[in-house]
């Protein structure tokens, strides 16, 4: 299935992920944590199921347990004492805070795994292009050189093997030396060949005043709709943040704002925001199915 969300304009995607990741980092309210963790998991699973499951069970779950256990041992604040370890109190608040932090951390990591699939390098290069053209060009050039250098490392390795100086020939010291020689040969080659690259840039007018930055991304109607929907959902979340709906006090004792009509609205908006990629894909799917 095509991921329609990932095809949105990079600026929209960037705004979305910045918002969601920052919110996930800062909102420690249980409802918000739950929403972010659940949606982060769902979005990541929608992108790559197997990888997400493996990552969650092999890494996130153990980390969750460890962090929950470690926090009360390091932090002795909180009013409700559960037991003593080495004369230090273990509090319920610290235990819960550890658990929440671990959930927050997991959610952030899950969102980053979505970011890494959706915001590909060329999208970031584009995004930087309008703000920092030189930096963006530098990124693009590094991305051009990396695969080229990796291939050249293999070529050099084979060439050195051909004259009996491979990284797998001889004793361990000779091998290490041969291996470093490969890096050294690569460096000279790369620096010297770079002069040709620079010539090629200057031959094509690099350095003239008023350089523009082109991209193949166009802002279309669908991007506009998505952007408006996102902004509309951001407002209640921000409102909640400033009125304290999204906050929780852990120490000395747990305290959250009571659930109200307004808080429910904020929760709903946050859920819609976090589930946006899934909802968006589903909406497009339905729309295109109908139109056939």
């Amino acid at each position: 299935m095509r991921n329609r969300f990932a095809e949105l304009h990079p600026a929209v995607l960037f705004l979305y992920f910045t918002a969601v990741i920052l919110f996930s980092m800062f909102f420690m309210h249980p409802v918000f944590l739950a929403i972010s963790l659940f949606c982060g998991f769902a979005c990541s699973a929608a992108l790559h199921l197997g990888k997400t499951l493996r990552f969650s069970f092999r890494f996130l779950l153990p980390m969750l347990l460890v962090m929950t256990a470690v926090n009360p041992l390091l932090n002795h604040r909180g009013a409700t004492i559960l037991l003593y370890v080495n004369d230090n109190p273990v509090t319920r608040e610290a235990l819960l805070y550890g658990f929440s932090s671990a959930c927050m951390f997991s959610a952030v990591l899950l969102w980053f795994s979505c970011w890494n699939t959706v915001i590909t390098s060329d999208k970031l290069v584009y995004l930087f292009g309008s703000v920092a053209p030189s930096l963006s060009l530098l990124f693009s050039m590094v991305l051009r050189f990396v695969p080229r250098f990796k291939a050249q490392i293999r070529t050099i390795e084979n060439a050195q093997k051909g004259i009996g100086k491979g990284a797998d020939q001889g004793s361990i010291f000779i091998r290490a030396k041969n291996g470093m020689n490969i890096l050294s040969i690569l460096t000279t080659w790369a620096l010297e060949n770079g002069i040709t690259t620079a010539d090629s840039m200057r031959a094509r007018g690099y350095g003239l005043a008023g350089r523009t930055s082109f991209s193949i991304y166009a802002f279309n109607k669908r991007d506009k709709t998505a952007l408006i929907v996102l902004i509309v959902m951001l407002f209640p979340v921000f409102y909640g943040a400033f009125t304290g709906e999204n906050n929780i006090r852990y120490y000395p004792s747990l305290a959250v704002k009571p659930i109200s009509f307004v808080s429910n609205l904020v929760y709903a908006a946050y859920f819609l925001l976090c589930a946006f990629p899934l909802l968006f894909n589903a909406a497009i799917e339905v729309k295109e199915h109908d139109s056939i």
């Binding site: 951390f105 530098l138 050189f145 990796k150």
Partner: protein, 241 residues
Amino acid sequence: MQQKSEQKRLKTALPAIFAALVFLAVILIGANGTGERKYFAVSLVLLVGSMLPFFIHFERRRTQARELVTLSVLCAIAVAGRAAFYMIPQFKPVAAIVIITGVCLGPQSGFLVGAVSLFVSNFFFGQGPNTPYQMFAFGLLGVLSGILYNRGLLKSSRASLCLFGGLSTLLLYGGIVNLGTLLLSGLPPTLSAYLMVCLTSLPFDLIHAASSVFFLFVLAKPMIQKMERMKTKYGLFSSEK
């Protein structure tokens, strides 16, 4: 024409406004929170704020084609080098190359190669919440080696570079990234918690420091020679330093 430049100005202003809003939001949310996340918020703002001047300087400088290529070559070698040794966790030549760049091409280039190689290599290894910390730490390594070299406190001798490389990778890079982990994880920002985080990552930090020493030991001399050759043969970076 008038309208076009107006539009263009708006287009460049928009990201700035966006960045300012994000900053504001981070500060407000962080400070408004229960206090547990405010250290993280402040560290994030400080981090980005301290890196911005370097990037702005780079943008304003109108770098020569040959210098831009040289910088990207160094970044790419760092990235490809990191990828070449991916089997051994934390065994990477990035710090060594960043330090050599700082020594040869000055603090500004040192910073740039450090921050950019980390950022780009994370395209391949995956960006994470501690990317800004890593960028900052590698950038700082480059700046510091450049400044110390210019002041004469760091020599281009093998021993001096290895000593600086090992210590700075272990303490500076490790210290900053561990601080980031601590603040991000929500553990209490106390000394004992920090030490615990450092202790758990100590084996990795040690391998990292050892790899820096190793790479500097074997690569520093030939790399510096090569860069000097480029500088004299093609007149690179004569305006820097």
